[in-house]
Symmetry: C2
Subunit: 233 residues, 2 copies
DNA sequence: TTGACATACTTACGCTGTAAGCCACAATGT
DNA sequence: ACATTGTGGCTTACAGCGTAAGTATGTCAA
């Protein structure tokens, strides 16, 4: 069995060219790629190490453990979100930030669940939060109101995206899927849900959700609040 | 070793009084209790069986597997939410529904993550959705608009609650916690976040989030949309 | 009484995260 | 030039997970 153990070492001695060394950065990027491609469930320390051409325990020289990997992945993803500019049109800036966050989270389908279930204080997250607060206060919001506003916007981002990701149908399949599941919604028990399903089946309602619908409701409401506080002064 | 196997059977033969039989209902209720008390992470099939005085595999006579347990738990929790009345003041009804959902989800801290990550079509969820659609359409919303409205409200419920649960501090500790973590937010790099933290430390901003802030922004916006569509007719 | 059936228990498999120890190599101090 | 030390990767091992498969027990109908 010692002959089974040797080869890798023999090879390494013969080839002094070593493999690219690991680093926290490389580990995290590989983790994001793996999760993007195969889902969070497929991300185990062994699979991740395999993708890097390394054994599982080697990762522990660069990350503290799986939780650390997941936290690092979240911060990497948050770094992709467009931070709002401070000064200028606050409403447009915050809107762009929200739309950007939505897009990024859709790109990394595993991310929203982690973002909302980790107390994340990585550098990308801090930069992102700082720019948001700055944008709002520069526009005239008090810190207290900016805090509430930011929280409401983010609630919409996370809540909407999670619901959207959870919904497993491609837009085109929606009508036929509604047809298929209609028997679960008998009209006697669920008259309104049944009626809406019929509209979807008949092509009279696409059933598609629009991220900006709720977003604009919030932004318009915030704008009115801001004008009111300005008028009061 | 056969003597090790016998006692339970001997006891059972001696005591013809049998333990309460399992049922899907009993299993699910025990699962909710366990998750409420010790968190979702502590809920394994073995622990759940133990809580019911039974072996793990016995549960599989009543539930299809762990996923089925989790889905059933979600539907049980959704059943606790107050469904809105159809007809009458839609705004008050939808508001009560949202506040009720928020309270229920805070009672079962493990639930929001599961609600947004399971395609759940259990009976309680259907009843809940049906009443919501009915309430909105009875108020004059078109089905398409009711669909968007309902989605926006639920996005707020899930997003807000998840953020709130994720935030690990009790209200009283907030100021002192901000003090403790202030060094992570140097004013040169994060001026606005730093400024807000200072306000919290100095007691000038409580930092508490209000569920109804974003909710009322949405409801007021929806009301305006409704009036506009009515005026157009 | 006997057979069928439902329920519960036992065993076993492949997976997980990670603690502990080992070993080869590179850099450093002498 | 040589010994020393530290670093990063490897191997092994452990406890726990969900659950497939097989077995034993208790209840009820014929």
């Amino acid at each position: 069995m010692s002959s089974k153990k040797s080869p890798t070492r023999a090879v390494r001695r013969g080839k002094p060219a070593r493999r690219a060394p690991l680093s926290r950065e490389r580990v995290l990027r590989a983790a994001v790629e793996l999760a993007d491609a195969e889902g969070l469930a497929a991300l185990s320390m062994r699979r991740l190490a395999q993708a890097l051409g390394v054994e599982a325990m080697s990762l522990y020289n660069h990350v503290a453990g799986k939780d650390d990997v997941l936290d690092g992945m979240v911060d990497l993803v948050v770094g992709e979100i467009e931070a709002p500019a401070v000064g200028g049109d606050w409403k447009a800036a915050i809107r762009r930030r929200a739309v950007s966050a939505h897009e990024v989270l859709l790109r990394h389908r595993w991310a929203p669940l982690r973002v909302v279930s980790t107390l994340n204080i990585g550098p990308a997250m801090r930069r992102y939060v700082d720019a948001t607060i700055g944008c709002l206060t520069a526009a005239g919001f008090s810190y207290a109101l900016a805090d509430r506003a930011w929280n409401a916007i983010d609630s919409h981002i996370y809540g909407f995206t999670l619901q959207q990701l959870n919904f497993p149908l491609a837009p085109g399949e929606y009508a036929s899927a509604a047809q298929q599941f209609l028997h679960l919604i008998p009209p006697e028990q669920y008259p309104h849900m049944h009626a809406m399903s019929r509209l979807v089946i008949d092509g009279k309602h696409d059933g598609l959700q629009d991220f900006t619908f709720g977003l604009d409701l919030l932004l318009d409401g915030l704008e009115r609040l801001l004008e009111r506080t300005k008028a009061a002064v």
